[in-house]
Amino acid sequence: MQLAHLERGQSAVVTRVTGVGAFRRRLLELGLVPGTRITRTWRAGLGDPIAYEVRGVVLCLRHDEALTVEIEPPTERLAAK
């Protein structure tokens, strides 16, 4: 499953970043290494990009960018804050 398919408020664990080159390296350096928990926030915007929270930081990823992040399917659903 990819990060782009996470629903609002859902949280999951990163398993792999599949992109290439500098962009993949940047995602890794932002802390999206395997085993890291990432949450799709409730911040809406206009649908694209989407705001995710990882390691206390809120990042905006475009849809095609969020497709390059593989995650474990989420097991819990967080309540709206």
């Binding site: 390296r25 940047r26 890794l28 932002l30 395997p34 926030t41 990009p49 206390g56 990042l59 990823l61």
Partner: protein, 727 residues
């Protein structure tokens, strides 16, 4: 500083960690703003007093990592390693955000590998206390092996400990990297380190190891670090060998660092888990709401635009009045001098004109931009400091992506409708040079306020108020049409230039939404003053010189009324009490260099429907587009004409070509408005383009492409209109 060598201390940190606030709090004086050598990246520095003497504190642009290739990101590693002609710093202060230390630690771990004295300043302790997430400073110092100081920069907390900590760090043994990599990776690292040129790193040094690691992580693909002499093939080979064995170099290096951090998180923070910072998340539910958030955004941008367009008017008027006043006083002085020394009246007159019209007019022409620039910089600094600018970019990203631009380009583009000069300066908020350049190349196409007087004059003089069968008032519709045209062409130009000349670079653009914070006004104020001063110094020189050159073109060779008017006319006019200078002005202008040039280019502009008189107006308009109106006033012998002048409009309507046909037809008007919409008739914009793009290449390109676009469009409009039977 007395020995001519300045000791430098670098201030490094992730974006949005309060680094600039700390910089201002430590130095307490206006920062010196400049550029890093060979780049357009802003470099801020200021003197900082340490117990052992003064150092130069350099505010390195915020960065997430040292592994980077683009010019803007290279600055961080260059500043730390002393590349690009900069001396290496004697110490580095890494600023971290106490509430979210992971990424600060990631950067810090890289700095530790560079063999530099390091102090870790854990900032925003006040926020951490509110969130009950205060990191354990002693545990950090123990694990990292460097000086760690907890601070709250905006409140001044802990700042007195930073200086002594830097002194202790300089005196202490150098810190060491904390991470052990796999034997396979260490093998690749030593292969690269072994072949590094000695001016970059001594063989076997830890700095060599760090640089090799940096090269391995930073260099791949077609991008080249062309200005850094290193054996690229060895790096490529080591990377390839690593990959061939099934290794994942990037993931291993980055993963090892984060593994180190994750393993110690419980020591730094205790057992508490991370939460999406509450207040910011709640605010974003509103501010990023598709309806409410978008509405608020549009309201804010409308306010910004209106502020630039109209709030700055009184200040602009004041600047103009002051310089008119000074000019008048000085002119009177010269007139008195001419009367006192009749034998030197001629030279004194010329010198007086140079001072009054060239120098004083030129300085006024620079300072007249300051109200808008200061206003826009203030707006930007406040919005950036409080975290909203990132939200605006987030909202606009999708829309602007269609034009090949990031969301951050919205503010410069909207500002362009007021004035391109501050708008070009506002591109500094864009993180990537490619995006900055593309934005500043299309911003001059947005319909700035200086075009408005020209449109007003032409529409008022040449367009009827109503046309039979057309239900709407013609003149407002024509004006609106010009704004729509300008917007459409700006977008098209961004798409075309972006696709053809500026392909997406490999530098990724990941937007962060920082927590909302109350802006720190002293920091905002100092930044605005420093940047405004930088504009006056850098762009001001060019504008001043250009103004004097243009004045000379329009004023030389000089003619006295007696040279160009017949004796009978002079007698008559004197008797009637008319101003001889004003009467002579049209002839003097015609015979000036600008007038001759206007005639020279007539064949080139005739196909657009213009005669040489309009040509002179076009030349005059390079000082600023609205000067077209007053120049046409002089050409037609109408004193003090503005865009509402009835005399000027009527004279224009009466003006005929040699064959008796009218010069000014509605079609000429449309052609000329299209020309003004697209042409780069603004020396001040060229001057700031030079400042912001780092040379004359890009302003030159902008001038050429916009001139071609303007001429071609006006040609199509005029000739096409004639073919269709319009006049």
């Amino acid at each position: 500083m007395s020995d001519g060598v300045t000791r430098k201390v670098a201030l490094l940190g992730n974006p949005n960690t309060g680094k600039s606030t700390l910089f201002n709090a430590l130095t307490g004086a206006l920062a010196r703003v400049g550029n890093y050598t060979g780049t357009t990246v802003e470099r801020m520095s200021q003197r900082w007093e340490l117990p052992s003497g003064d150092v130069e504190l350099v505010d390195v642009p915020g960065t997430w990592s040292l592994a980077a290739r683009s010019p803007e990101e290279r600055v961080a590693i260059d500043a730390l390693l002393g590349l690009r002609g900069e001396a290496p710093p004697v110490a580095v202060i890494v600023v971290g955000d106490a509430t979210r230390l992971h990424r600060s630690l990631y950067l810090l771990l890289q700095v530790l590998e560079l063999e530099l004295p390091v102090v870790f300043a854990v900032n925003l302790l006040d926020e951490a206390r509110r969130q009950e997430r205060v990191p354990d400073i002693e545990a950090l110092a123990e694990e990292l092996g460097v000086e760690v100081v907890g601070i709250t920069a905006r409140a001044g907390e802990g700042l007195d400990q930073l200086g002594p900590a830097v002194e202790r760090a300089i005196a202490a043994p150098l810190p060491a990297g904390r991470i052990a990599f796999s034997p396979r990776l260490e093998q690749a690292v030593s292969e690269v380190a072994a072949v590094l040129p000695s001016e970059l790193a001594q063989p076997g040094s830890r700095r060599g190891r760090a640089l090799a690691l940096w090269l391995l992580l930073s260099v791949d693909g077609p991008d080249a670090l062309t200005d850094l002499a290193f054996p690229r093939s060895v790096v490529d080979k080591a990377r390839a060998a690593f990959l061939a064995e099934g290794g994942d170099l990037d993931a291993e290096i980055v993963g090892a660092r984060y593994a180190w951090i994750d393993a110690r998180d419980h020591r730094f923070y205790g057992a508490r888990t991370e939460t999406d910072s509450g207040t910011s998340a709640k605010l974003d539910r509103v501010l990023l709401n598709p309806v409410l958030g978008t509405g608020l955004f549009l309201g804010l941008m409308g306010t910004l635009f209106w502020a630039l367009f109209s709030w700055s008017d009184p200040a602009i008027g004041a600047v103009e009045s002051v310089f008119e006043l000074i000019g008048g006083v000085v002119e009177n002085g010269f007139t008195a001098a001419e009367a006192a020394v009749p034998s030197l009246a001629g030279p004194i007159d010329i010198f007086g004109d140079l001072i009054v019209q060239g120098v004083i007019g030129g300085v006024g022409g620079v300072l007249v931009f300051l109200p808008q620039i200061a206003l826009l910089f203030t707006f930007l600094a406040v919005l950036e400091d409080c975290g909203y600018l990132a939200r605006a970019a987030h909202l606009m990203d999708r829309l602007l992506r269609a034009a090949g631009l990031p969301g951050q380009a919205f503010v410069p583009l909207i500002s362009g409708y007021a004035c391109a000069v501050p708008a070009v300066l506002a591109t500094r908020t864009l993180p990537r040079f490619r995006d900055r350049l593309l934005t500043m190349l299309v911003v001059p196409l947005t319909s700035c306020s200086a075009r408005l007087p020209v449109y007003t004059l032409l529409i008022g003089a040449l367009f009827p108020a109503a046309i039979d069968g057309f239900p709407l008032p013609v003149r407002p519709v024509a004006l609106l049409g010009m704004y729509l045209l300008s917007t459409a062409v700006t977008v098209i130009a961004a798409i075309v230039l972006g696709r053809t000349m500026m392909p997406e670079t490999a530098t990724p653009n990941v937007l962060e939404l920082p927590p909302y914070r109350v802006p720190h006004l002293p920091t905002v104020w100092r930044l605005v003053v420093a940047r405004s001063g930088d504009f006056v110094r850098e762009a001001g020189q060019v504008i001043l010189v250009a103004t004097i050159v243009l004045w000379a073109l329009l004023s030389f060779p000089r003619y006295e009324p007696a040279d160009v008017l017949s004796p009978e006319v002079i007698v008559e006019a004197t008797a009637a009490g008319e101003d001889l200078e004003a009467l002579a002005a049209p002839v003097a202008l015609e015979r000036s260099y600008a007038g001759r040039f206007g005639k020279l280019i007539e064949p080139a502009i005739a196909p657009l429907g213009y005669d040489w008189k309009i040509g002179i107006g076009l030349i005059g308009s390079f000082a600023a587009r609205e000067v077209f109106v007053s120049t046409m006033g002089v050409v037609y012998g109408i004193a003090d004409a503005d865009e509402e002048s009835v005399d000027l409009r009527e004279t224009m309507r009466r003006e005929t070509h040699a064959d008796g046909s009218r010069v000014w037809t509605p079609l000429t008007g449309v052609s000329l408005m299209v020309f003004f919409a697209f042409a780069m008739q603004c020396l001040s914009t060229l001057a700031v383009l030079k400042r912001e793009s780092g040379g004359w290449k890009w302003p030159g390109f902008a001038f050429v492409y916009m001139s071609v676009l303007a001429w071609g469009s006006a040609f199509l409009v005029y000739q096409g209109g004639l073919l269709l039977g319009f006049s």
